[in-house]
Symmetry: C2
Subunit: 129 residues, 2 copies
């Protein structure tokens, strides 16, 4: 199992933020949970695209460790585990929406980008309605 280095070389608060939510998968997980609320693992995986279990599990583990995602386990048979955003996780959403709006302003330059492929994004939703 991949083990993160204990001390990351973080020189600036900016790098902490980008490390916590800046990756493609982490930002997508946050977007999906922001849009859909509480989800079970299987549903969350279905909402992501082309992600392997190993990558999703590792990203969820890091998001949980950084206090962005909450994992709730229910003592049922069959066992039920749910994921949702913490308050800290919710506070990331406006930043991701700002990045989305910025990108949208330049989307005409992006070759091959199909805005319609994004079903989670408030920016796109605004454009559609």
């Amino acid at each position: 199992m991949y083990q993160a280095k204990l001390e990351k070389d973080i020189r600036c608060p900016l790098e902490y933020g980008l490390d916590v939510f800046g990756g493609r998968w982490k930002s997508r997980i946050i977007c999906v949970l922001a849009h859909q609320g509480t989800l079970r693992y299987g549903i969350l995986k279905g909402e992501m695209t082309n992600i392997t279990d190993a990558v999703l599990a590792q990203n969820l583990k890091e998001l949980i460790a950084d206090g962005i995602v909450r994992r709730t386990s229910f003592d049922e048979i069959p066992p039920r585990v749910e994921y949702n955003l913490t308050e800290k996780g919710e506070s990331v959403v406006p930043i991701l929406q700002t990045i989305c709006r910025w990108s949208g302003a330049y989307h005409r330059e992006i070759s091959g980008l199909s805005i319609a492929q994004c079903r989670k994004c408030d920016y796109t939703a605004e454009k559609r309605s």
Copy 2:
């Protein structure tokens, strides 16, 4: 030389933004240029920390291709090349500052983060003054 794939798998405007300025080095280059204005290569490299020429050159190349950084070459002897932010690059700065402020709000949780190490960040500058 590393050759980027022609078509990136970008599914969401958010991913375009994170791809363009979300990396550690790219965000740091933008911060340095936002703070210092126009810089020659050697000075820019000196302002970054622990970056190799190969990594800096590749990141600059991508930032130029994405319209974030402008490269100006002067026909002098010795040759002079300068880098500064484009208008599109300047428009990224408020987003990076927002991420910085968000991170700052949580910086007490960050083990080993020395805020004083960041000399470029408006957030830190505010705190210092």
